[in-house]
């Protein structure tokens, strides 16, 4: 019915669009770019967590005349990094609220002179008492933000959470924590800015969201939209870490460029990047669950709390996703989820793959194992008995309309991981020896796209444009940073229009050239932006048909020649598509009720681990990742997303610990902040079920964040089971296991508190 005879493109492993440049070292990242007369910029940061700036001294031994120096006084517009609340200053103006607060900017043409100059600036303060934990923030002995240190609270209520307790056979309580995690993209944050009277301000950088930076620069510099241009360079990994911070960096480079009249490049070194830019929000989740003796959840309360650091930035939306995912893929007849994001005197925490969900899902999936022990069921059975089924509703009251079969997904995951045989084998072998083995399970879901009415507010626009040679170009602000944005969107355009993949190009994400297709976040690119690309091609095809250049049925070659004929005769042909919310997606922001996401991806992960009781180290021996993500657009890229996400989540679970002292990261180096190497990871076996989703392009849902959610609880569940000890916090390092098993007497099982109703 589409009238095309070309081979399928979607679902096949076409070459990565920008792959050739990457394997030959020709891809241009921001630090590879040099402009004539360019200066290098650096940042002078606060040294203390909280205080008033008394005096700034420029020390001896530096020829300060040679330096461009920018302070808050040089800001032409508003001193803020515009995002949601606009509360974060671009440069400290009198006060500092965390130890990495930027105070001054310096620039010089010889970048070797900058570190000494930064060190030669001394700042004197009147120090104020600071707070560093969620508990201190709740205690309100110091109010450091607003009237109550609280960026945002959310309440989700379903059913009757008062009367269920007395109907319960068991009440299971637990508290679970997750630590900060650094995104650790291998390319540090970097930006170049240039300001010219005629064109205005241009920045080139490593970033995920060109229009976020655009908005921030307009407000900071008091410039109209057409005088600010943001260009995304090849971006060496992001994972959420280049969602909001690039606006800060662009602001800094822009201020130096405006003051000096010359282009300015700022590239962070690893330590500055790790210490000063955003990390995953630390979290604390408290569960109290009413369960029957046959393992049915009657309901529960969930208190989800995150540490947002010193400014609001994205905390309210991270909180929202975390809270909505806190009930997981289970049916809660009654539930109350109360969530809050708190202020502390640490650098603001921000977006990181999963965006709150890995935190609340860690808690829930640990808690499910505790419930299983309490009611004496297996951790498999407790999940099976409580899975959401089509027609049932989630915590926000969203009816599951997808044809998902979680029980079937679980069975398949157990089979793929050879679960039963391994369980028996481990039970036998654990009798003797110093190595204890076990196998853990996690079931979870991840919503694709912005939460609730978010996509409606974004109102994304994409374009597809016909080029002179008969090819087409995809015009979006969606950024490529390794996930495969360019490749999959070109596949979609090619297949939807009936062109060859080789005839589709991808415009550089440049706000002067491409429409605002929204930020490249929230697992929204394949489903939401991809669908819009698909829609935009319809306009092209209709125009070609109406002008008599294309018949009902055509080959890719005919399509291409129709395109080039059209441009030769009529000139430019561009088709735009704007997002329209499907009618069945209704969201009440006030009550936090309704359809939180247009679609969910679903997964069951199984981890087999060995704990070596001579070193207390954990090795993941085998990992099965089974998921339903709708249509798989590109099998190699999709598998790469899952493996990479699982690897990052293994780091989250077992290796990656941010060491804090007074709000400052002490281990901001790859030497002492440990991410997995190729020698540390198990075979990660990836399997997909493809059921398809009507909202997404060719039935695709989101995939990028999903694999971050499940590995940590699956692994920690396995470790706990192997040792007969319950672990409730990550990262779980060898010293933590030593602490729990060797020094302390074995704890009462399970780790959570269980009360048995008479």
């Amino acid at each position: 019915m589409m009238g095309m005879r070309n081979d399928r493109i979607v679902g096949t492993a076409v070459p990565r669009l920008e792959g050739r440049e990457k394997i030959t070292g020709q891809a241009q990242y921001v630090d590879d770019m040099v402009l004539p007369g360019m200066l290098y910029g650096a940042t002078v940061r606060g040294q203390i967590a909280r205080g008033k700036i008394k005096k700034i001294t420029f020390g001896p031994g530096i020829n300060w005349q040679e330096f461009v120096i920018v302070s808050a006084k040089d800001i032409p517009g508003r001193n803020c990094i515009a995002l949601i609340d606009d509360d974060q200053p671009c440069l400290a103006d009198g006060n500092v609220n965390h130890p990495e607060e930027p105070i001054l900017l310096l620039a010089h043409e010889d970048r070797h002179l900058l570190p000494k100059a930064v060190e030669a600036v001394s700042v004197e303060y009147d120090a104020l008492p600071a707070i560093f934990t969620m508990e201190e923030s709740e205690g309100r002995s110091q109010i450091i933000w607003g009237s109550d240190n609280t960026f945002k609270t959310i309440l989700i209520e379903k059913g009757d959470v008062e009367s269920m307790w007395e109907k319960a056979d068991y009440i299971v309580e637990g508290e679970y924590r997750t630590g900060a995690q650094e995104q650790l993209y291998i390319e540090n944050n970097g930006m170049i800015a240039s300001f010219e009277g005629k064109q205005g301000l241009t920045v080139w950088g490593s970033l995920q969201c060109p229009y976020y930076v655009h908005k921030a620069l307009m407000k900071l510099c008091g410039l109209p939209p057409e005088r600010v241009r943001v260009v995304q360079m090849e971006t060496g990994g992001a994972f959420g870490g280049k969602e909001e911070y690039p606006s800060m960096l662009a602001a800094h480079a822009a201020l130096l460029a405006i003051k000096s009249g010359r282009p300015v490049k700022i590239i962070y070194d690893r330590m500055e990047d790790m210490a000063a830019t955003t990390k995953r929000h630390p979290s604390r989740t408290r569960h109290r669950t009413a369960v029957t003796k046959d393992g049915k959840i009657l309901g529960g309360t969930i208190e989800f709390t995150i540490d947002g650091g010193a400014y609001a930035t994205l905390s309210s939306v991270v909180l929202s996703r975390g809270a909505i995912h806190a009930g997981g893929p289970y049916y809660w007849p009654s539930v109350r989820i109360s969530a809050k994001a708190l202020a502390t005197n640490a650098p603001p925490h921000g977006a990181f793959r999963g965006f709150g969900a890995p935190q609340s899902i860690f808690a829930l999936e640990r808690h499910m194992d505790c419930i299983a022990r309490a009611v004496n069921l297996s951790h498999v059975e407790i999940r099976r008995r409580n899975f959401l089924k089509p027609g049932q509703s989630t915590a926000t009251g969203q009816t599951v309309s997808e044809t998902i079969d979680l029980g079937g997904l679980l069975d398949r995951a157990l089979e793929l991981s050879d679960y039963s045989a391994k369980k028996d084998e481990f039970a036998r072998e654990n009798q003797n020896g110093n190595c204890k083995r076990s196998i853990g399970v996690a079931a979870f879901l991840h919503g694709a796209g912005f939460t609730g009415a978010g996509e409606r507010y974004l109102s994304s626009v994409v374009g597809v444009e016909v080029c002179d040679d008969g090819g087409v170009q995809v015009l979006v602000s969606s950024a490529e940073f390794g996930q495969g944005t360019k490749t999959i969107l070109c596949q979609i355009a090619a297949e939807a229009l009936g062109l060859r993949y080789e005839d589709v190009r991808f415009a550089q994400a440049d706000t002067q050239e491409v429409p605002d297709s929204g930020p490249t976040v929230a697992s929204r690119t394949a489903m939401v932006v991809g669908r819009l690309v698909q829609s935009a091609t319809v306009g092209i095809r209709q125009t070609l048909r109406a002008s008599g250049l294309l018949g009902e049925s055509y080959t890719a070659e005919e399509c291409r020649s129709a395109c080039s004929s059209y441009v030769a005769t009529h000139g430019k042909l561009r088709s735009l598509a704007r997002y329209e919310q499907p009618e069945d997606i209704v969201w009440d922001e006030e009550k936090y009720r309704g359809s939180a996401y247009a679609a969910f991806s679903w997964a069951v992960y199984v981890a087999a681990v060995t704990v070596d009781l001579s070193t207390y180290s954990v090795t993941v021996d085998d990992f099965v990742a089974l998921q339903e993500v709708g249509r798989v657009l590109h099998p190699v890229l999709a598998r790469g997303q899952i493996i990479g996400g699982v690897a990052q989540a293994i780091g989250f679970a077992l290796y990656e610990k941010v060491v804090w002292a007074n709000g400052r990261m002490l281990n901001g180096q790859m030497t002492n902040y440990i991410m997995p190497t190729s020698a540390d990871l198990p075979p990660i076996r990836v399997y997909f079920e493809e059921r398809g989703n009507v909202h997404g392009a060719f039935g695709a849902k989101g995939i990028g964040e999903l694999p971050m959610d499940g590995p940590a609880p699956a692994i920690v569940n396995a470790v706990g089971d192997a040792l007969g000890t319950s672990f409730d916090a990550i990262p779980l390092l060898p010293e933590d296991i030593f602490d729990a098993t060797a020094r302390r007497p074995a704890r009462e099982e399970p780790g959570a508190t269980v009360r048995r109703n008479p």
């Binding site: 492993a13 070459p15 990565r16 920008e18 792959g19 050739r20 440049e21 990457k22 394997i23 030959t24 070292g25 020709q26 891809a27 241009q28 990242y29 630090d31 590879d32 010889d110 070797h112 002179l113 995104q183 650790l184 993209y185 291998i186 390319e187 540090n188 090849e234 971006t235 060496g236 990994g237 992001a238 994972f239 070194d269 690893r270 940073f481 390794g482 996930q483 495969g484 190699v636 890229l637 598998r639 790469g640 493996i643 990479g644 996400g645 699982v646 690897a647 990052q648 180096q669 790859m670 030497t671 991410m675 997995p676 190497t677 190729s678 020698a679 540390d680 990871l681 075979p683 990660i684």
Partner: protein, 165 residues
Amino acid sequence: MSESPHESSKSEISLTVNGKRVTVRAYAMERLLDVLRHDLGLTGTKEGCGEGECGSCSVLLDGVLVNSCLIPVLQAKDASIVTIEGIHADGRASVLQQAFLDCGGAQCGICTPGMILAACHLLQKRPQPTVEEISEGLSGNLCRCTGYMQIIEAVKEAARRGSAT
């Protein structure tokens, strides 16, 4: 631009880069990485951590795989350096690069040049490495995107294709 006082502390250093003899004016302790990127415009070599942990700046120095962020340029005086821009002189490289493309070994691409140099170096020593030898051999090169499996598969595939030709 007049010569700044800092210029006087620089000296002339000659080395061979990708088969070409070059002379640069640099601070003696300047990192080979910076000389390659800034003075010679060979930006395919990337900086990830600046302390020899991540391997993004891997180059071959007289046939030995090194982190160019740890090599003062003076140490590279008269040495022969191979970067990603010159790796094609090794016949194995193009097979390996194609395998990276086919197997999904490159995602964001920032670790890729260093990873390809490390893998080339490994295949030189061990033309048919086992999976364990590849994981071990590449463990000095960090990748945050791939979880390494598709990189390991690419090296394995390159070894297979290499032996088939």
